[in-house]
Symmetry: C2
Subunit: 436 residues, 2 copies
């Protein structure tokens, strides 16, 4: 990767899609602690400098270093078939030689929790929970509990492994990974995801009778590694010590190139910054490209600690981590009475076909780690986002230049408005940061 | 696979989708000569008997036996990246340890042919030919030349390997395989296909400068194996020695479950037959499930030889090998003046939203091996067929029950009409069988 940065031949004012594809194509997979992660940090520093940001620097973050190994799932009875499977992030390995057991299908965590232990013990639990396709992406939040907690709950009842139907939409035969959690009081069993077509084959097979499956996963947790948040600024003209934080995450799952998740968000932040460089607003706009959003949130938590004394001066955080789709709205979570500060955005947003700002569950996984800081977030079309999210399919060809350009223009409008406000957006009650 | 047939629990009158998914799910991959191929033959015999067909039997066919091995493609410069690749059917292996070379991109065979040898020699040729998405599927025929002949033409100029952009549509990161041909007068070099997103990454990379790629493919051609055409009939009431042939192919590429290609066609043939069993037409309707359509046409050629004396009595052949999409038309290639025999189909076809029969390039790859036999073929919607064709994505979840049901109803209408005709459909001039 050493020679990489010399090859970048972006135009002087790269478009958001050019920025996103530069990261996705030239760095590609970049899970925390990997070579790609380190390359992404170098990429971001270089890019910020090229675009004219000030105070470009890295801040060290210690991150988990989990590496994928072999992954195989095979139906062994009543039919023999290789299934497309992937380990969930953080999963332990199967025992040497894999694990083979009868499959128990449930559709929800609640259904599993209601079963007696003797129906679960010794089985591979298959969570066949179907995610709904919606422009809002809301189906994800409704479904992801089986990915996060499925293995722990199955282990609690003696299961030997846990497999989920991919938390996603679409019908490609590519499984989607994502984070999972173990609980201290139960054994750690392997957790994987089947692609949607394979989950449907397993369901159809189980409708005809019992089925057995052999699972081989050999991921490993290596010692923690060093990564970094990458930070650069457009210094404010009147209140340089007050900060509007533009955030996105630099890391990405290892299966794909992290184009929508989250090179698109990185590109929005950098594009907004490059457009502000020539005409800086009153307050400082700080781009923070967080480490380790996907499997630990260590970047955001480290930033919150390192900048604790300064968070009072963060007037707002705007996180871009919703892909590259068209924006149709802006959500805010601000201090009491502060919403009137956003009212002037209505007319310019309407020109971009975006509705007036609305109160809501604003804030991404990273920026909601910053206690008290008002949050702003674009509502982007995520109808197709979860077709490719966390899978090998998250590649640059999925980004439409015009859509990402519009999302970036909306972000610029909002960021500039807040950075130029006479007043501020108040503070959030500290408990309201949901830690998504 | 031995216990498989006892598990079939289809309803007494299975729907076309149930039939297709039984083959795709319970047998799955079934490339000629494989265990799946043999299982498919057993499946078909059993199924024909269950559905009440007469004269159910197999006819031996000697088939090629090519097996896939390891497959890896890695960009080594200017970036390092694993690409999703698959060997084309019939490809030779790369040398031990693989082959690494600079990539030469062309967009057509003609462009490659026009290049001087010194620009090609020692390179990996990358055919970046884009297939157009059309309901007719016509883009396939316009693009597939690079898959069939790309390696041979590249070898003629000294290339060390040939890679194509997947001949298909869609944006899943799954490569599509398919047959390729070597020429006797040039060396055999390995031929592979990149998924569309990977082909686009390679194109973008080459736009920035030279790129090197390492390719490892280890397929092997084993000795020819024994397979079979599977045949069953609905015996005609008045002219039992005259035959309307319903054809589809039983084999399928190894990457997926062969659901659309061609379990859907198999299901149409079996469904039409089961519906005729209780009310047989005047002529015999013969279902022929051909071996080895995908990589050799040995089934159709063997049938043509074995039944040469009887082909004169084949009044028509109707091949189903266009997926599971809605039918919108019927094409025919019949003897001079015989088209008037099909005119009465206009009204009943209209009720199924199908236009009147039209003269055209009718006939599938198998049935056009039968000299002189009139051909009928449904025009089915193939807008999405080539998203999954010959890839791991060809799975049962892609079949819509209502669409396949309609295609089967149209086939039934046409088959019954022809089987009950007073006259016949003449003969085709023997040269007109195009051997698609």
């Amino acid at each position: 990767m050493t020679g990489l940065l010399l090859l970048l031949t972006l135009s002087a004012n790269p478009s958001p899609r050019e920025l996103a594809c530069s990261l996705a194509d030239e760095v590609g997979p970049r899970l925390s602690g990997s070579e790609g992660d380190a390359a992404a940090v170098r990429w971001a520093v270089e890019k910020m400098k090229q675009l004219g940001l000030a105070n470009v620097h890295t801040e060290p973050v210690t991150v988990p270093h989990w590496v994928r190994g072999e992954e195989r799932a095979e139906l062994t009875a009543p039919i023999s078939r290789q299934l497309a499977v992937t380990a969930l992030g953080g999963s332990v390995a199967t025992p040497d030689g894999g694990v083979e057991a009868e499959v128990l299908r449930v559709t929800t965590l609640e259904q599993l929790k209601a079963l007696p232990v003797d129906q679960v013990k010794g089985r591979i639990v298959f969570y066949d929970k179907v995610m709904e396709r919606l422009p809002s992406g809301k189906g994800y939040g409704d479904t992801v509990d089986v990915r996060r907690s499925g293995a722990a709950e199955a282990a609690r009842k003696g299961a030997v492994a846990s497999l989920i139907r991919t938390v996603g939409t679409g019908d490609a035969r590519l499984p989607h990974t994502g984070g999972m959690r173990y609980e201290p009081d139960v054994p750690r069993i392997p957790g994987g995801a089947l692609s949607i077509p394979d989950a449907e084959l397993l369901r159809r097979t189980l409708e005809r009778g019992p089925a057995r499956l052999k699972l081989v996963l050999s991921p490993r947790a290596l010692p923690d590694a060093e990564s970094a948040n990458v930070i650069g600024e457009v210094t404010g003209t009147a209140k340089p010590d007050e900060v509007v934080l533009l955030g996105a995450h630099l890391d990405a799952w290892d299966l794909g190139d992290g184009a929508l998740d989250d090179a698109a968000g990185v590109a929005i932040c950098l594009d907004v910054a490059q457009k502000l460089v020539g005409a800086p607003p009153k307050r400082t706009v700080r781009v923070v490209l967080f480490a380790n959003e996907e499997n630990g949130l260590r970047g955001a938590r480290t930033y919150a600690q390192a900048h604790a004394g300064e968070l009072q001066k963060h007037v707002a955080a705007i996180e871009s981590d919703s892909g590259a789709g068209l924006a149709s709205g802006v959500l805010y979570a601000v201090g009491p009475g502060a919403e009137k500060q956003l009212a002037p955005l209505r007319a310019p947003l309407a020109k971009l076909k975006v509705t007036a700002p609305k109160a809501g569950d604003a804030g991404g996984a990273d920026t909601t780690q910053l206690p008290g800081v008002p949050q702003l977030e674009l509502v982007q079309d995520r109808s197709r986002y979860f077709d490719i999210h966390h899978s090998a399919d998250d590649t640059c060809d999925k980004i439409r230049a015009d859509e990402l350009e519009q999302a970036s223009a909306v972000t610029l409008l909002v960021a500039r408005h807040v950075a130029n406000l006479e007043g501020d957006l108040g503070r959030l009650p500290q408990k309201s940061a949901p830690g998504k």
